[in-house]
């Protein structure tokens, strides 16, 4: 725990100072180069705004409507086959859609079953090994105006599901 805490604390400052010092020793005008990059940051952040707004409206509506319960019951038979406990299913559904909501689900699972329970460990493992795909997708494709995303979502969903199955299997093996 201590080692990990130290690493997470000093990684960021180390990363930043490495870039700055390396740039300086290579003769880069770090100050005006930084400003140049910062300008690009501003335009990029503004450009993704309409895409993020569009996606967040749908996420808000979907989350509040109770649609998740329907998806959970639809997924239950499939989850039973591959061994995912039904307590974890709300997380499976919410994980690709909303990072905040899925952290909320994990917190709830912790308070019901405990962080050191099997459910708690699987939820932690699955949460740490996946991302909010819909959010990443709307930012990345939105920033360059791609409309046809082809197989990205399907491949990402398959990967996410595989991650959950792996989380269950690994936790069963390690914490048995």
């Amino acid at each position: 725990m201590d080692v990990i805490e130290v690493i997470s604390k000093y990684l960021l400052p180390l990363f930043i100072s490495t870039i700055l010092i390396y740039g300086y020793t290579k003769g880069v005008d770090v100050y005006s180069t930084f400003i140049e990059g910062a300008e690009e940051g501003i335009t990029t952040a503004i450009r993704i705004m309409p895409y993020l707004v569009t996606m967040f409206i749908a996420i808000g509506i979907f989350r509040t409507s109770g649609a998740m319960d329907i998806f959970v019951s639809a997924l239950t038979p499939l989850a039973n086959i591959v061994g995912i406990p039904s307590e974890i299913l709300p997380l499976v559904v919410m994980r690709p859609i909303s990072g905040m909501a899925s952290l909320g689900i994990v917190a709830e699972l912790f308070s019901i079953y405990g962080a050191d329970s099997f459910i708690g460990r699987v939820a932690s493992t699955a949460m740490g090994s996946s991302e909010t795909i819909l959010y990443t997708l709307s930012i990345y494709f939105g920033s360059i105006g791609i409309k046809n995303t082809r197989y990205t979502l399907i491949a990402a969903f398959i990967a996410e599901f595989a991650g959950f199955i792996a989380a269950v299997a690994v936790c069963k093996f390690v914490f048995a």
Partner: protein, 192 residues
């Protein structure tokens, strides 16, 4: 199955269920809250993106990025065979993956957006994703992170006796999901 279909689906299902369950007022309100939240988030991004893209520009000029992408060269050309080795997209993707591995999420996104811009330079059909873009997104979606700091912190505050015990299990699960994603993308690109 594109993002557009998913979006329409989420909107229609949400509104329909809201009417059915009698909480349509809250549902619509949640939609509007989402819009406001997205704008607030973007304003926050202006500062964060500026900071990281400023640093990235320095890393680019000094040759640091070139060095990192050379180190990852073989792996990158396996993942993105259509992208020329010396193309700036490779450097930006290497930076994005490095930041992701070390859990620097708010640095990874601006690097990733920059990478998408470079990938778009190589794209002939500007509104259709290239194989490289799809692969890049799939890898980003499966989170290759060494230390899941947020979860460890949450476990700690939930009273876990060993909050970081899930680091190893997370790493294995993440390798499984990323490998599955890469294979799926490599297979699916033939048909879609």
């Amino acid at each position: 199955m594109g993002a557009g279909i998913i979006w329409l689906f989420m909107m229609i299902i949400g509104i329909f269920l809201g009417i059915l369950n009698g909480n349509i007022v809250e549902v619509v309100q949640a939609g509007m809250d989402g819009a406001v939240q997205a704008v607030e988030l973007c304003f926050g991004f202006i500062g964060i993106y500026s900071m990281w893209l400023g640093l990235m520009k320095i890393a680019q000029r000094s040759g640091l990025i070139e060095g990192i992408s050379k180190k990852m060269g073989r792996f990158l050309s396996f993942l993105f065979p259509d992208v020329p080795k010396e193309h700036p997209a490779m450097g930006a993707m290497a930076m994005n993956m490095t930041a992701n591995i070390f859990g620097l999420g708010n640095a990874a996104t601006p690097f990733g957006v920059k990478a998408m811009e470079h990938l778009q330079e190589l794209n002939r059909e500007k509104d259709r994703a290239t194989d490289a873009m799809c692969m890049f997104l799939v890898i980003n979606g499966s989170s290759v992170q060494l230390i899941p700091a947020t979860i460890i912190a949450m476990r700690g505050s939930a009273g876990s006796s060993n909050p970081s015990e899930i680091v190893g299990t997370t790493l294995i699960a993440t390798i499984c999901s990323t490998a599955t994603g890469i294979i799926s993308a490599k297979v699916l690109k033939r048909w879609m």
